[in-house]
Symmetry: D2
Subunit: 482 residues, 4 copies
Amino acid sequence: MSPEKKENCGLFGIYGDADAVQKTHFGLYSLQHRGQESAGIASSNGRFIQCYTGMGTVARVFRKDSGLLEKLSNPMAIGHVRYSTTGSTKSANSQPFLSEYSRGQVAIAHNGNLINASVLRDEYEAYGHIFKSTSDTEIIIHLLAKPSHAMREDPIAHTLQHLQGAYCLLFLFPDRIEAARDPHGIRPLSIGQTASGAYVVASETCAFDTIGAKFIRDVEPGEIVRLDERGLHSRFFSTPGEVTPAHCIFEHIYFAKQNSDVFGENVHTFRKCLGRQIAREHPVKADVVIPVPDSGTSAAIGYAEESGIPFDMGFVRSHYIGRTFISPTQELRDLQVKLKLATVKEIVAGKRVVVVDDSIVRGTTTRGKIRSLRQAGAKQIHMRVSCPPIRHPCFYGVDFPTKEELLANNRDMEQIRDFLDVDSVGYCSLEGLLSCASLPADHYCTACWTGQYKIPINTVVNKFIMERYQMTMFEGWIEENV
Amino acid sequence: MSPEKKENCGLFGIYGDADAVQKTHFGLYSLQHRGQESAGIASSNGRFIQCYTGMGTVARVFRKDSGLLEKLSNPMAIGHVRYSTTGSTKSANSQPFLSEYSRGQVAIAHNGNLINASVLRDEYEAYGHIFKSTSDTEIIIHLLAKPSHAMREDPIAHTLQHLQGAYCLLFLFPDRIEAARDPHGIRPLSIGQTASGAYVVASETCAFDTIGAKFIRDVEPGEIVRLDERGLHSRFFSTPGEVTPAHCIFEHIYFAKQNSDVFGENVHTFRKCLGRQIAREHPVKADVVIPVPDSGTSAAIGYAEESGIPFDMGFVRSHYIGRTFISPTQELRDLQVKLKLATVKEIVAGKRVVVVDDSIVRGTTTRGKIRSLRQAGAKQIHMRVSCPPIRHPCFYGVDFPTKEELLANNRDMEQIRDFLDVDSVGYCSLEGLLSCASLPADHYCTACWTGQYKIPINTVVNKFIMERYQMTMFEGWIEENV
Amino acid sequence: MSPEKKENCGLFGIYGDADAVQKTHFGLYSLQHRGQESAGIASSNGRFIQCYTGMGTVARVFRKDSGLLEKLSNPMAIGHVRYSTTGSTKSANSQPFLSEYSRGQVAIAHNGNLINASVLRDEYEAYGHIFKSTSDTEIIIHLLAKPSHAMREDPIAHTLQHLQGAYCLLFLFPDRIEAARDPHGIRPLSIGQTASGAYVVASETCAFDTIGAKFIRDVEPGEIVRLDERGLHSRFFSTPGEVTPAHCIFEHIYFAKQNSDVFGENVHTFRKCLGRQIAREHPVKADVVIPVPDSGTSAAIGYAEESGIPFDMGFVRSHYIGRTFISPTQELRDLQVKLKLATVKEIVAGKRVVVVDDSIVRGTTTRGKIRSLRQAGAKQIHMRVSCPPIRHPCFYGVDFPTKEELLANNRDMEQIRDFLDVDSVGYCSLEGLLSCASLPADHYCTACWTGQYKIPINTVVNKFIMERYQMTMFEGWIEENV
Amino acid sequence: MSPEKKENCGLFGIYGDADAVQKTHFGLYSLQHRGQESAGIASSNGRFIQCYTGMGTVARVFRKDSGLLEKLSNPMAIGHVRYSTTGSTKSANSQPFLSEYSRGQVAIAHNGNLINASVLRDEYEAYGHIFKSTSDTEIIIHLLAKPSHAMREDPIAHTLQHLQGAYCLLFLFPDRIEAARDPHGIRPLSIGQTASGAYVVASETCAFDTIGAKFIRDVEPGEIVRLDERGLHSRFFSTPGEVTPAHCIFEHIYFAKQNSDVFGENVHTFRKCLGRQIAREHPVKADVVIPVPDSGTSAAIGYAEESGIPFDMGFVRSHYIGRTFISPTQELRDLQVKLKLATVKEIVAGKRVVVVDDSIVRGTTTRGKIRSLRQAGAKQIHMRVSCPPIRHPCFYGVDFPTKEELLANNRDMEQIRDFLDVDSVGYCSLEGLLSCASLPADHYCTACWTGQYKIPINTVVNKFIMERYQMTMFEGWIEENV
């Protein structure tokens, strides 16, 4: 998948561990692929919450010499890594959000996108509320603080019932963590446990491996899991089974790490299955199968196995540029492709090459990579993509460009082939894609291919709507690409 | 005055100047003595507001190489330098505060202390409002945003009528600046004009000199001054004359700069008058009169002139440590006295020395200075203080310690003399102090000496009450003493 | 290869390009895998040289907002990335070294290790010379500056004749670049040319791809190549053919990037050949072949192809920790393994797994990885290593630990198998290794396996000898892991 | 004295104190007025030396959070603050200089200016020596390392006999400190002792007060003082009495702090005597005497006392801009005057004002101050200067501009009065100046007024000569004005 596609966020929380803050730090490292724009950790000593957030990667925000992690030694903590889907790239938008309201302090970390955030914001501003950020997440604290919500038996449940869209949420109160997932279960959120019995929640199970915890189960769609001194307690704010799940299948295709299990199955296995599937759907005579690393690697291995064509690593990715270069601005995009992905001439020169990538969005960076292969002497280039053509925007947290910018919008296969300048192009069919999934086909959101949104988009909502809140809040942060 | 006494804040605003941001920057430099904890500038291009704040001095926040000032080139701006009176020393408390509410954006800068802030905060939290800082200033935005206020003909006037305590306020809206001063006129706020006609407001007139503007008049107690494209417009939210002013005479004694005019008269002249007054009230045979620089210098000159005893600079102040070392923590206090104030032995050795300081709070640092003089060989030391003994706390923005910590609390003159280890001690009488003032005696607040508070303190209020809001928000700022 | 093995350095130089500095910057990015400890660029405007060096990665030293690259806009430049082999990790050791001597300025960048550096340093100190660093490179400037050398017709050639050991050198004089390679050609150095005709030199050809230059040929062992306004001029300071080459075959096995050509052949192709070779030498029945990424990937693909066992990516490497964590200290080594390399359970659970790595040094990190595989449920683990057991130290720039610390020192295969806790272990034979090489077997240095050093080690020399120069020079650099 | 005049450097050293590094840190704070361009501390644990230097003020280089001072806990240390007289403002020139030569390590700190530095540098480059900086100090290490010097019984004494010009030097060897002063005693260097018996050396005695040490005596011209485990040992490298001293009287007039004793007498007392002297030489009828703070304050007090005209502080200096703004570039000079020195109108309006400054160099900033007074309403302005007109350059460390730029060059008193736009101008006569000095008149250097240089200037030497060494070495330092 091209670097132009932005990630969503990563969540991590742990209750009941003397090294909660340090383990949250490690957990965030393992979730760093979900967002490098900002990072933050909020922790509580049981009485009050301390929060530190900053712009950039986990390594940058929590620098070895900053002493921050030592200062934050509390038995419970939540952490967040962020890539903006709504909200400018401002430090005011970094999470966790720490606030105080009538019931005391709360810190919130959010993965997903609320489609009714601007409607709610208008409503609450009309009530006299003030806002300090441009993030959709801030509205959640306002809902929670509303007196008619706060006096309910379960204010969080009541609050969540007002939210529309995709959300996994971690709430840190001075005495507990509450973890919730939207009724459609769009984004993943899993529960684990350390050897000493502390409970952990994370966007992906790879974070459990990092700190030596075991996967227990997912937070269910519509469930709130409370972690406190009495252990883990579950409740539902949405009747289980009433809402058909709408898991974002892009988590499997692109977002999640190969070694994570999401929605009940391993990401690598899923991707490899996709590779086999496109090998069957789009066979071709070729000399070598190469992936666009790293997101295309698993599928390429699958393609190679199914087709019998040798697998090789025709592209070499630089580890020193990283996704940190993916600034929301266009400026360094060309430089990036060039520096990030080198070509191994010996693998492709004079060969018929099958290139496997996870998806294509705008197509411009893919075209750049194809050009590199041509320059390296590839005789034929056959593009294989492990999902169907993306033709519709996502309102649930995937930061696709506008419909007009999507490569597959108003282009047929021949035009796409021309644009990319390849000898053939083959996308995985929707049926093929779903055949690799273990859950029923209707348990996934496929809107970006089909346009069928499981949560109705009533209002004219897009990812930029929050931007009318033209608050440009520099808060001491000077961008430093490291 | 001893370094243990904290300052309040400084405000600067300018409308209608192409270099508004740069001039605000200069203005803040000249007001730096009013607060070094944080600095910030908010500016508007007529449509939306940009705000940058940071911890530390103006020089530090707006570093030459940060490029911030070039980015912020708008025709109107407000700025703030802060020393905390309420609210922890956290970056979340730095000002101007930028928020959005139902009517759009607003940035607020505040000098003073609201005595009903915690009551109002409780009330608004009960309405469901959330708070992001521990500063008393944040409540003002909530009041302004309250629907029943926002729909008024003059929401600002209506908002101000709810505030109790000391406040000078600058509001920056996308299209205008509004400057207001509390009905008692406790803190100073003046209006100036540049040669090209742009209006300026500032806590002290010295800021006008810095940018080449002329003083016009003070913002009156209970007045709101609006600066917009139609020029300057005045209105009152409190009937003029109904409330007797309660100007903080400590502005004359300590806070303001010698070259400023506050409450209608020059600070240096006032202080020199005080020096003459204590020379008359507490004459002594001595060889030399020396000030505790810089706040005692003017009075010492006055004392020397009246008494005929030669003036000299027996203390030398270091310019490289600065007030930045005055962290609210105790830790470097001893180091500070030692490094900040050196003694010129030749001036004091074998001499009978009159030492003039503006005031004494705890007395511990004064005692340290006296000890330095003894070590330098002074034969006799006569302490003279240009205001009466401080015996009561201030609720309007001067950060005195608790009553118990005040030197003059429960100590008679002999005990004070013993504590300081001086040969004699003489404070200016209240009558003597007021005789130097040009306004009627009842136009000043003298509560710290008399305990007679002009604004009733009904609730158990102290400067630390906001601290129960135990939000420790580190926002990316690692303290660097420079 | 385990992270405990340190890299050597990377060189880049370009003459005659308006964007020389910027292209050097790009070139260093592509050579970053050769050293992340420090980076630097020296450039000349034809009259004098400017030099900037700093600690950390290229990205860190030349931060986007530092403006350094814009300032350094000269038509010729050389750059360096460093990993210390001798010399403490101090900023005084970062390169290029800029000095002035009787003939003016010179900046030097060095890749390799001089085995007679300490002898020469003693000699020159006895002449009264002073040294500012602990690097072996500094002696070169002293040799060059020696009057009896400086007055020679070719002072550089004369200087080089005094050096023993491994070296590729770039000299930047105000008007030219001189590039030299030791008579044994131990480290690689290649010449390229841009489309517009500018000459480029680099440690690896991958740097040419990055800036769009074409490979021309290698700098020959014993050759000096001069780049100036008259183009490229070659001369030899050692009679060609007289010395048998001793190319460091570890460049093929570990150091160089897959897409580079070194010593006349492609790195990836070489490694894949090794994989095939060990598949023949050490066949085993297994379900999957997995590499230790990234250095074992090419060989694993070769092994899989030769054996017919499916290839898969059982380890996932984190891109956010990077080699920057490899501080020469032991402290974070455990953390590193854990965070850097995750296991994909689904690939290895219940499987017979062949693990391919490029080499094993101490064996401790390898053992850690094996343990991860066991924990992930691997049924059998068969370790395959694409070079012979390392039993001897390197004096030419590879930072192996002491002989005692080497896994294969005094351990037979069974003991190694036990240590690693694997079901079988198989190293590539020396003959097998050399069979993949295109040059005659005696053209390579194989000392780390055979103990046969091509350059005699007469004196008691080891990589730490320079450390007796106990100069601990902090020069304003506070380590920041980013 | 105008800010255009640059300072020289400050030295501090201490032997035999457990807190040697920390006390050096304090000592440098108190010497900060002698140079703010760079700061550094070298310390030894008895076996080897650690050194840390950086650009900017002491506060900036040794930031509270950098942990540098804790790391450097050794029983002996030397420190340096620098203002460049020769050598570009580059980090390569910051001191102490740490090097290694045949006898081991040595760190050197220097105050003064060597007039034969470039001659010696040429000579040593001809010997094959290399140079890493553009500072004149670097040559000293080369002299010390020269074999024929190093084998002498007293290499330091032998080295110093080759130096011409002004120098106070501290040498830190692993086991001792050696402090030396040139035979003319141009710059000051004093010896003190702490209560616990540790010996201290410093450029000014004010540093002793800061750390609680007592002044013992000056290091004599031509003397070397050795501080080691056996205590203090003195020797002479120049026959005492053979050379007539040439103390820089500008130390009294401008450089040193009021509370320091230099050349045997107190600075404040000296300056006050000058004020009395000019009152006698240039009496005038006036209403008020005001100093240009801080260097003119003592003389103004003396003028006021002698004349009977009241003293007052008509200028207020800002403590937040500081000398850090005095970058060697012209760019911020205007801003600086405006922000640094405010006028108190009430003191000067309608008055006949005597303004006392220590000296006038170019006259441009003085003219700016006069203009401020006129704008503030002064009726008459009488300029009084406490030294004679400066007409000749200094080769011994005072960074006057070129002869052509000096105000008094080719201008008579009337022209000077016109240039400054004052009603009268009066300089102190040379006789008057010397009458305030306690040493014989011929014991001072008066070359800047008389052109009679006590050390012959044989070669065409000027302060910029070293600048032909066009080494522009950026070493990781990005200027940050704080």
